[in-house]
Each structure stands twice: as structure tokens, then as C-alpha cells.
Subunit: 331 residues, 2 copies
């Protein structure tokens, strides 16, 4: 009758990334029982891909001496647009053949009778950073992925805010400049067109001095990457420093927008920002935000680099399951 | 023991506006039992002002044959920054002497033993439009005031989202243009610097042709107003139409930002937009939003003019009380 015991049961997370699938068994307090990662290697046939994921998940359960019935739930994190009401993944990048696929229904063969929840990767990462990472202890936060693209997730009181079409937190596509730079999404002036790694690499191909340090670090490759800009900037290269300054200005605008719309406790910034660190990015951006937002809002706002790093995929899927089992055990 | 009966008891709203104070007694279904409006006429002494409001409120209760104990609650809507956790109004515009005033404590003399809730005017208006106005039936909406300034309120599942410093929904100050036009708030490039009536009037003083229709409508006054621009645009005046086009472009950018951040069911637009109507503003803005946001987000988004008009102050205070008594009777 100890219904509250439900919430201390372990959960299983499956994070389907573009290059790797991460599996993780863990408890609500963050204790990890078992985990596994393997290359995604999509076959072109979603049935076959998902059957393999089901088998991997079962193998992990076996390793931990658990059966599907021992789980509080399964969380599945996937990239790109999805329709969680219908448990469907629409068209994840790098997953050929995955069009409008009901992942949950197909995973049930391997994991019968377990509650399953689907979430997009940015929202899953937001849950993970909120529960076990840089956002721990805050009631409301926005997480920004800051990688190839700029994704985002909004977590309030432990739950993702999805919005009407599961697009809330798509911060990468707010128009920072009306009719500005073209974005890979087809729109113009999006935050991602200034801050996304892919857009930045495209820009670097045009503006990086061919005999400069950034080009040197890029070696023979066609495009330099933001990581190489960060590296050159850390060495004091003037071009790289100017690029970082430009990045910081657009990032600050994005954060000021979020601050006035959501007034969150914290904003947690992923990959590129975490790699660049405080001196190059976070400190200058904190100053810019203080200059461009009202004092009473900006002063207590926590701007932090994401802290889960390479561990993120394990926690992302797990936290999707844990967030769902929290709400089912309290409601 | 019928604790649920709580929620059908009447509530009292007091809306303290810059020029008028509106009092309203009503039921959760929107039935109004009595109402009253009088000029604000601040005395310079908050004690005296609030004592008069308390007396007005008691007179309204008497008129309806009710005692304070019959009320589910009292809602007080006030302009400007406030600290609802401490029941304090910070510095409302047009209320001399009101500095860090605990309105609730002072109103208790007249209305003892009744739960009282304080809310800022934009959030109160958002609750009112969500419950009884253009936003009725939607789970999540953003309301924008679109008057002298641009205020905003976010309502999700019948409750205002306040944010950490009660600044969530301050949409008027998102930076549409980095380092753009100066805003009366001290920042630059804010939405309000392009869309607020006061900023627009300042601009018109510089750009309106002195022999044009807008100047003619403004008569001898120093500044033409947005209302005169709307009027001239309805008559087909070319300058006024270009001004409206400019307004629509900045409004659309604001709405696209909100759409990507919050993905709400509806956005409800107040005063200027309601006055301008569909043809001049709402239809062109709907088209611009569809062009500048992803189809799947923009298509089902409801963009509507506010519908409570002159009745808004009565419902605003009332809805603050009703929203609070909803949550206390369900939690």
C-alpha cells in the first residue's frame, strides 16, 4: 500500500542521439544502476532500429538484475519535432526512414506494461540539468543547447512547458533581427542564425582570415568550427576574440528576451558556452544582460554553463522517465 | 462541510487605475452583482486614499446586501511594479506618496477576515480576458496591453505566471532592436519604444507632416496620438498607413518571439489593436506572423483583439480574486 514507494523505483532512460544511443537505469535521487552507450547506426528501417534498442534496454535490465515490471517508467529522448500526445517522432535528423514513427508502441514489445514517455532532446536535457546539473535547486529555468543548432527547453516546478504544438522553448528561432541572416530552418534573423555552430561555421568560411590562427586550427577542413574559434580566442587571437564578442552580443539579446518574457530563476547554457567558459563568454554576457535588462530582474538571475557534459545523454532519458513518474505519483 | 461551495461565493475586485478606481462585486460565472467607478483623485497620502477605497468597497457590499464575510476573496489590481509576496505596491505611476505601500494590510480595516490578493494591472487584465473576454476557453494565453505603454501578462491553466521577480510577461521591454530606439524605461530597442502609445506620439511629433491629415486630427495639440493615426489610416491617408505598417512589423516581431518562446494557444491584444481592428492591424499581423514563424506553430495560433473594452477594469480586479479563490478551493 506504500504508493509513495512508486517514486523510489528505478527508471530507464533511452536517449536516441544522431550519433549515439545512450541507455541508463537510475533512481530518482540520481543513483545510476547501469548504463550503456552504442553508435546509433540507423538501418533505414525504424522497426529494426527500435527492436535493437529494445534488446539493448533488456540487456541493461538483465545486467542490473531487474525486470520491466520493476521500473517506474521509461523515458525516451529523441531529436527534432515530435507529437507526444500521439507518441510519435516526426522526422528526426540523421534517422533515415523514421517518418511519423510511434516509438513507444514499438518499444512495448521489449518492455511490456511499463509507462513510457517521449520527449524531445532539448526538453530532456533541460529536465536533466534542472534535476541533476547546473539548474539543480531552481524552480524555473530555461536550458539552451548551444551546439550545431540552438534548442531550448523550459522547466517550471520540475515539468517541461510544452506549449500548444510542443514548440515552447524553441528559443533558437526567435527573430533577433527582423529579416536578418538566413537560418537553416528557412526563416531569417533567428537566434540560431547567429549563435548556432552550423551557422557560425558557414560564416567563418567567409570571414576567417585564411592565414589566421582559426584557419590554422581548422587545418585542411573547409570550415573552421566554433570550437576552433574558442581555442584561438583563448590564445588571444584578435579575429577570434572579435567573433566571440559578436556571439556574446547575440546571446545576450536572446537572454534578455527570455528574462523579460519568462523571468526565470536560471538560464543554463550548453555545449559552446560550457566549452568557452566564464572569462570568454559567461562573464561578458552577464554584464551585457545587466546593461540591457532592468536591474531588479537581471541582478538575481543565474546564468550558468551546463554541468552534465558527456554524462548528459544518460541523465536526459532518465529524467524524462523520472519527471513523468513524479507527476503520476503526486497527482 | 460543502467546501466546494466556496467557489460559488461572490468576490470583490478593486482596480486602482491612474485615472479611475473601479469596484466590482461578481460571481465566478461572471454575473456582476454591483459595480462602481470613481476618479482616482489621489490625495498624496496613501492611508487616506486606501481608507476611501475601503469605504467605497463597503458601500458596494451594503448596496448588494452583503457583508465582508460573504466574500470568497478580494482582488486588488494596481499599476506598476509590486511585490505580491509582501503585498506591497512599489511606486505606481500617478499615485503620489504611494511608495512601498502595503495595500492589503490597510484595506483590512474595512474588509476584515477576507482573503485578499494583489496583482499588477497587466496580469489582472490577462486573467480577465482569459476568463471572460477574447481568451475564454484557451488554456494558455498572453495578453498585451498596447496602450500608452506595452504591458503583458501570461496566463496558463487559469493562473498568472509571475516569474522570479514578478516580471514574467514584461513583453514591452524585450529588445526588438539591439541598441535601438530609446525607451522611456531607460533601455534601448524595447518593443514599447516602437509600439507604445507614448513612444509613438513622441515619434509623430518628429515625423508627421505638419499639413497632413494626422496633424489636422491632432488639432492644436503638440503631439498627434496613435488613435489619430488609426483614424487617418481608416480614411486612407498615406502617411498614416505607412505608420501602421511600421507598427505592424514591430508587433509581428514581438508576437513571433512570444510564439517561439511560449507557443501559447492565443495572444490577446489590447487598446490600440482593438481600436484599429482587423483590416488595418490584425489581418496584416497574422500574415506577417505566418511568414516569420514555422507553419506548424503559426497556423493554429489565435491572434485576437481584446473584447472587454471599457468593462475591463471591473473584470480585472474581480478575476484576481476569482483566480485566487479557484486555487485555494482546489488545492
Amino acid at each position: 500500500m506504500l504508493q509513495k514507494g512508486f517514486s523510489i523505483r528505478p527508471a530507464l532512460g533511452i536517449d536516441i542521439g544522431g550519433t549515439k544511443v545512450a541507455y541508463c537505469l537510475g533512481r530518482p535521487d540520481g543513483t545510476l544502476l547501469a548504463r550503456h552507450r552504442r553508435p546509433t547506426e540507423p538501418s533505414g528501417d525504424p522497426d529494426q532500429d527500435i527492436a535493437r534498442m529494445g534488446a539493448d534496454a533488456r540487456a541493461l535490465l538483465d545486467e542490473a538484475g531487474l525486470a520491466p515490471g520493476d521500473l517506474a517508467g521509461v523515458g525516451v529522448a529523441v531529436p527534432g519535432p515530435l507529437d507526444p500526445a500521439r507518441d510519435r517522432v516526426i522526422d528526426p535528423p540523421n534517422m533515415p526512414g523514421w517518418h511519423d514513427v510511434n516509438v513507444v508502441a514499438r518499444l512495448r514489445d521489449a518492455l511490456p506494461g511499463v509507462p513510457m514517455v517521449l520527449e524531445n532532446d532539448a526538453n530532456a536535457a533541460a529536465l536533466a540539468e534542472a534535476r541533476f546539473g547546473a539548474g539543480k535547486g531552481f524552480r524555473s529555468l530555461v536550458y539552451l543547447t548551444m551546439s550545431t543548432g540552438v534548442g531550448g527547453g523550459i522547466v517550471m516546478d520540475g515539468k517541461v512547458r510544452h506549449g500548444r504544438t510542443v514548440s515552447a522553448g524553441e528559443v533558437g528561432h526567435i527573430p533577433l533581427v527582423w529579416e536578418g541572416e538566413s537560418c537553416f530552418c528557412g526563416l531569417r534573423g533567428c537566434a540560431e542564425a547567429y549563435l548556432g555552430g552550423r551557422a557560425w561555421a558557414r560564416r567563418l568560411a567567409g570571414v576567417a582570415p585564411p592565414d589566421g590562427r582559426v584557419a590554422e586550427l581548422a587545418g585542411g577542413r573547409e570550415h573552421a568550427t566554433p570550437v576552433q574559434v574558442v581555442e584561438a580566442a583563448k590564445e588571444g587571437d584578435a579575429f577570434a576574440l572579435a567573433e566571440i564578442e559578436r556571439f556574446n552580443r547575440y546571446l545576450a539579446q536572446t537572454l534578455v528576451v527570455l528574462t523579460f518574457v519568462l523571468d526565470p530563476d536560471a538560464i543554463v547554457l550548453g555545449t559552446i558556452v560550457a566549452a568557452a567558459g566564464d572569462e570568454l563568454v559567461l562573464d561578458p554576457v552577464r554584464s551585457l544582460v545587466r546593461e540591457h535588462a532592468w536591474g531588479r530582474i537581471a541582478e538575481g538571475l543565474e546564468l550558468r554553463a551546463a554541468s552534465l557534459g558527456e554524462e548528459l545523454p544518460y541523465y536526459a532519458g532518465l529524467c524524462v522517465a523520472l519527471a513523468a513518474s513524479d507527476s503520476s505519483s503526486t497527482s
